[in-house]
């Protein structure tokens, strides 16, 4: 009797690790860690903004709308309570991405303002902040890509057989993937307007492409 109990116990332990229970732990942790990194980089960008706005204001105080736009977008992002729970909530994730996307657009408009003020463009402080911002946008891109990779890896495990049985048993659901918001808007080429007044170029919804 004891022999069978031992064999049964051993079988249970082995098949559990074979069916991916440990893998779930590892991949779930990887998702949380890479998400923390994404948030870290978004925060870093947010921290750069006050300095950037102040510098641009020094040369172009009349562009009040733009400054207001950036400050408002930044505070909207700051107000959102983001923690690990957003990883399982598609609506919350979408809201967060939209808020960050709006901030990206506002920042693009701010930088375009600089194009019209040559003195601002050559200001050393502004150039330093600009390169810091570019660097942060690049880091955001990389962090997002790594995050989507961890989500994919986790979701694959959740959906494959036989690990999907373990998933159901322990309550591991598929996590929402990072999507590019406004996919329709992006796939339509923008109309280039050669009107009298130079209009600021519309920014793409995700973070602006680095090194244009």
């Amino acid at each position: 009797m004891r022999k069978w109990a031992l064999m049964l116990g051993l079988t249970a332990i082995l098949s559990l690790s074979g069916c991916g229970y440990n893998d779930f732990q590892t991949r779930d942790e990887a998702v949380k860690k890479s998400w923390a990194e994404v948030l870290n980089q978004y925060q870093r960008r947010s921290d750069l903004i006050p300095n950037l706005v102040a510098t641009v204001q020094g040369y172009a105080q009349q562009e009040k709308d733009v400054f207001l736009g950036v400050t408002e977008a930044r505070s909207r992002v700051g107000q959102m309570k983001i923690d690990d729970s957003v990883l399982n909530n598609p609506q919350a994730m979408q809201n967060f991405q939209k808020a960050q996307g709006d901030l990206s657009s506002a920042l693009s408009r701010l930088l375009v303002v600089a194009e019209n003020y040559p003195q601002l463009k050559s200001d050393a402080n502004f150039r330093e902040l600009q390169s810091q911002l570019e660097g942060t946008e690049n880091r955001i891109t990389v962090a997002r890509k790594r995050f989507t990779d961890t989500i994919e890896s986790y979701n694959v495990l959740t959906r494959q057989f036989p690990t999907n049985l373990t998933a159901m048993l322990f309550g591991y659901a598929v996590k929402p993937q990072f999507t590019v918001e406004n996919e329709k808007a992006i796939s339509v080429a923008p109309k280039v307007d050669f009107g009298a007044k130079p209009a600021p170029a519309p920014a793409p919804a995700p973070a602006p492409a680095p090194g244009k």
């Binding site: 022999k3 690790s17 074979g18 440990n22 893998d23 390169s131 810091q132 690049n138 992006i186 080429a189």
Partner: protein, 286 residues
């Protein structure tokens, strides 16, 4: 700006991307821009620098990175090459896309204390750019490297270590499987051949040796050997019968296969130290 839109709208298929050259030397010039003498001198300088400071700096000159933006290509390169030491992340990549006239400096986190994005940008704009515009590629690259080195003087990095084999994380799950197999199959066999005590010792010895050969170190194999020894010794209390019988073998396979890769290059060739990159650095053109 329009190009960025196009890139988003119709991403090129993976097959169109420029290949990443294998990492064999510190200076990889696919365009024949540098003379053999320049390349050798630069290579020696970078080797000397790594021996002295530990950080890995590499130069890559390609004709073009299109259809990918230079940034994306540089990230693929550093993810493949893994410059810099693991967990220190002190690698630097200097990428030149000659026909595109694009420059990238990619830095690992470990060097960003002094070699910040702004500093990288300044090196590109003030040191390398003007020389490239004048057609002096060798000079531009050399001066850029010297500038990077001098900036990194202020960075507090761990001292370089003697050559050691890079072993990635041990797959403990695999060893659990190994241990169980050893105890349950090999154990009874050796027991019947050598008697209870000697059988247990032999099984422990074999398993310990296997653990040492696969994972290295001393503590882990010893612990494994002791556990196996006790298990096989005490197995006599539970009569498992003559035949191994109906063990379900299927559950083990996926657990054991997810091990890390075993590194360890020869002492002459250059290889990445396992460092990571977070996208920091700067881009520029000339």
């Amino acid at each position: 700006m329009l190009l960025a839109w196009a890139a988003f709208a119709a991403p090129a298929a993976e097959g169109d991307f420029q290949p990443i050259p294998p990492l064999k030397e510190r200076v990889t010039d696919l365009t024949g821009t540098l003379s053999a003498a320049d390349e050798a001198r630069l290579e020696a300088r970078l080797r000397e620098y790594e021996a002295q400071k530990g950080a890995q700096i590499a130069v890559l000159i390609v004709a073009t990175t299109l259809p990918e933006p230079a940034f994306d290509y540089s990230m693929r390169v550093v993810d493949a090459w893994k410059l810099g030491r693991k967990d220190v992340d002190d690698g630097v990549l200097f990428l030149i896309a000659k026909n595109d006239r694009k420059l990238e400096i990619r830095t690992g986190r470990g060097v960003q204390g002094t070699l910040t994005d702004a500093v990288s940008k300044r090196i590109i704009a003030e040191t390398v750019g003007p020389r490239f515009r004048a057609g002096d590629f060798a000079g531009g690259i050399e001066q850029g490297i010297e500038k990077i080195i001098s900036v990194l003087q202020g960075e507090a990095l761990p001292p370089p270590q003697k050559k050691r084999v890079a072993v990635s994380s041990v797959n403990y799950e695999g060893f659990l499987m190994l241990g169980v197999v050893a105890a349950l199959f090999v154990g009874p066999l050796l027991r019947s051949l050598l008697g209870r005590f000697l059988g247990a010792t032999a099984t422990a010895g074999v398993t310990g040796a296997a653990a040492w050969w696969l994972a290295g170190g001393l503590l882990f194999p010893i612990v494994v050997a002791i556990i196996i020894f006790l298990v096989v010794l005490l197995m006599g209390a539970v009569n498992l019968g003559g035949r191994g019988g109906n063990w379900p073998g299927g559950g083990w396979s996926s657990g054991g296969s997810s091990g890390g890769s075993w590194g360890g290059g020869s002492s002459d060739s250059f290889s990445g130290g396992g460092g990571g990159f977070d996208g920091g650095g700067a881009s520029g053109d000339w």
